[in-house]
């Protein structure tokens, strides 16, 4: 017996000619001829034109991106940014929790001292947007509501160094983030209910 017989029947055509040299008989299971309706094709054409005609009188929902912004819900997780207080101070105290929790290791913090009562603020804060996976773990870890996922989704650049965002690129006035803060507060309260 040859090995040919041990191959399941359905797979035999893939093996080429049979050991005896005869071609393998092939049975096609699909329909392989068009019927007359399909040959004419007119019906389908009219169907398609009818659809186009209908759509012409519908309101347009295409957005002229990127000039026209599209509406975003606060649950969108965009580029992580740092909140700046109304008095210009940085909220972040460079506690390093986000740096530690970041699964992509995108964050690097250089902690520094300030004369403020909070004593500590970042001298530099780098997020490598080539690494960041927008998971939002940093936001969840932050005890100061300082790092937040903004709704900015346009992060493409034409040069690698530009993808490394520094402190000055990351600071955003806290008013702009208020919606996200409220949303996360609400959600975290819901998710992190103490186990009773």
């Amino acid at each position: 017996m040859s090995g040919y017989d041990q191959v399941p029947e359905a797979a035999r055509p893939f093996l080429g000619p049979t050991p005896s040299g005869k071609p393998v008989p092939v049975k096609v299971l699909r329909k392989d001829r068009l019927d007359w309706k399909e040959k004419v094709a007119l019906i389908e054409i009219f169907k398609g034109m009818g659809f186009t005609l209908r759509e012409m009188f519908r309101p347009r929902f295409t957005i002229q991106f990127p000039e026209e912004p599209f509406p975003r819900h606060p649950s969108v997780k965009g580029r992580p940014v740092l909140a700046k207080n109304p008095d210009g101070s940085i909220r972040c105290v460079s506690c390093g929790l986000c740096e530690f929790v970041c699964p992509a290791r995108a964050i690097t913090i250089d902690p520094g001292e300030t004369s403020d009562p909070i004593q500590r603020e970042p001298r530099d804060f780098q997020i490598d947007m080539l690494r960041c996976i927008l998971c939002g773990m940093c936001e969840e870890a932050c005890p100061e509501e300082a790092i937040l996922m903004s709704d900015e989704l346009l992060m493409a650049t034409d040069a690698r160094p530009k993808a490394l965002h520094h402190l000055e690129d990351l600071l955003v006035p806290v008013e702009k983030l208020q919606e996200r803060i409220d949303y996360t507060k609400r959600m975290y309260r819901k998710w992190n209910r103490p186990q009773s």
């Binding site: 105290v93 460079s94 506690c95 390093g96 929790l97 740096e99 530690f100 902690p111 004593q119 500590r120």
Partner: protein
């Protein structure tokens, strides 16, 4: 051995041992404590180690009566018939209450506190499970940044008045420098007459303080403790050989050095030089990353193989005229490799720097060689200045090997070397650029493994905490490779190829 009963179970315990230490270290019960430290006098003031003592007594009429009292376990010694309940309702509650009182005025500083992650207050707060404050009164405001001299900062808000720091100076150093001033809720820690702290052991306060009240200036805000990887090693700054942890941050930077418990050498402490003088481990710019060889009068960067072959050729050609000097920082293994390589040398040994005068009656010794005993045992002789100065002029080639050799050699000796041909195995080029024929990039003590033998003859292991940069490699590897090439060239195999 005494028979005691812990939580209803009979156990044997060494007679006279400290009860808290026995419960925690031997039975692993993890009873919290702040004011207790095994190296200090016991005061029992934080009340965190309270357990229930069960006392049984036979009354005259034959009936047995049982009395249960709460007490601190840190001041109790193990003796026959002792019976304690550590995790009963009463003991648990007592500890929880003590904890809550400690936290009444404690600030919520953890995100900015250097102790976070290794803070006992955090640990036990989680353990006892009282995660929210129940007070409505405003928290006490205290001075948050008190300068206690060159090494230590004090944050009075975080202090829990365990008085470990006070006792440390009194009992370890024998000279009190800190005290608790005022009384009641106004008590706080202060230095006498507000003088800056002195002495060579101040850094230990940062380890001894169970919370973040005393912190190192040098470590301030540098790194969060959970980002550090501790690597066990040996301090190379004196011949005591204190056991240490080298704490390395994520990006391969040494951030901190702290003591590692070793009762036979240094106990719980190390000196401030050992703790603070680690900056040269992080040196970047001056560091030799690639080998350099003199070509047409100039030192140029060449691949390691070429430099090694060149060094081997020079060593072989010099023969008797070789003067080989090792640094006292070489490990035992490297000393042996060095000795094997310089078999034929006319003069060899390891440099023995003069006593530093920094020694004291605690840990620090006068001898700055971490491995004098080890190198002597390997067969290398200690070399002093006079002998060296006399030998250099007649040598045809000088081989200087090992970390810090350029820094440890006195300038007179270096200027004698500067007119010779020199092979240098170091991390920096130092002032010998004009004389060096081959410069091989070596490694620091934190980048290699090996054995140091301390002043008492105790063999101790160092382990690599960092990776040497570029083509730099541990000195031992380089020495062995040169030796292999010397033998290869000597047997004529090189020419045949």
């Amino acid at each position: 051995m005494a028979k005691i009963k812990v939580n209803g179970r009979e156990v044997e315990a060494p007679d006279g041992a400290n009860l808290l230490l026995f419960l925690n270290d031997t039975l692993g019960l993890n009873i919290p404590h702040y004011c207790f430290h095994p190296a200090l006098e016991k005061v029992g003031s934080c009340r965190m180690c309270q357990v229930e003592f069960v006392m049984r007594r036979k009354d005259p009429d034959g009936k047995e009566s049982v009395r249960r009292v709460l007490g601190v376990s840190c001041r109790e010694t193990v003796r026959d018939g002792l019976e304690v309940e550590t995790h009963g309702e009463a003991a648990r509650r007592a500890r929880k209450e003590a904890m809550e009182f400690l936290l009444v005025n404690h600030p919520l500083d953890c995100p900015i506190c250097d102790k976070a992650g290794e803070c006992r207050l955090q640990d036990y707060a989680y353990q006892t499970g009282q995660l929210e404050g129940r007070t409505i009164e405003p928290r006490r405001k205290e001075e948050k940044l008190v300068d206690l001299g060159e090494v230590i900062l004090l944050d009075r808000e975080r202090c829990i008045l365990c008085t470990r720091c006070v006792r440390f100076f009194k009992h370890f150093e024998g000279r009190a420098q800190l005290g608790v001033v005022e009384r009641g809720d106004r008590s706080h820690i202060a230095a006498f007459y507000d003088q800056p702290l002195t002495g060579n052991y101040q850094g230990n306060l940062a380890d001894i303080c169970p919370v973040g009240a005393l912190t190192l200036k040098k470590f301030r805000f540098k790194q969060r403790s959970w980002d550090l990887t501790p690597v066990p090693s040996i301090c190379p700054l004196c011949s005591r050989g204190c056991n240490i942890f080298v704490d390395v941050a994520r990006h391969g930077v040494v951030r901190r050095i702290r003591p590692r418990l070793e009762p036979e050498v240094n106990g719980y402490f190390i000196c401030d030089q050992g703790r603070l003088e680690f900056d040269d481990l992080n040196m970047v710019e001056e560091r030799l990353r690639f080998a350099r060889v003199r070509r047409e009068g100039r030192l140029v960067e060449r691949p390691m193989e070429e430099a090694l072959a060149e060094a081997a050729r020079l060593v072989r050609e010099a023969g008797e005229g070789l003067l080989a000097l090792a640094s006292p920082f070489l490990t035992v293994e490297e000393g042996e490799a060095f000795l094997a390589l310089t078999e034929k040398a006319g003069f060899k040994g390891f440099w023995s720097p003069p006593p530093t005068g920094l020694g004291d009656r605690h840990l620090r010794t006068d001898d700055p060689c971490p491995n004098r005993r080890g190198l002597e045992k390997a067969g290398l002789q200690a070399v002093h200045k006079e002998a060296l100065a006399a030998a250099i002029p007649s040598a045809s080639l000088v081989f200087l090997a090992g970390e810090r050799i350029l820094r440890l050699l006195p300038p007179e000796v270096l200027s004698l070397c500067a007119v010779k041909h020199v092979i240098l195995l170091e991390r920096v080029l130092g002032g010998l650029e004009g004389a060096v024929q081959v410069a091989l990039p070596g490694a620091s003590w934190a980048e290699k493994s090996g054995t140091f033998v301390n002043a008492d003859g105790r063999k101790q292991r160092i382990s690599p905490a960092l990776r040497p940069p570029g083509e730099a490699a541990p000195d031992g590897r380089i020495l062995e490779e040169i030796r292999r090439l010397v033998l290869l060239q000597g047997s004529g195999k090189e020419e045949e190829k």
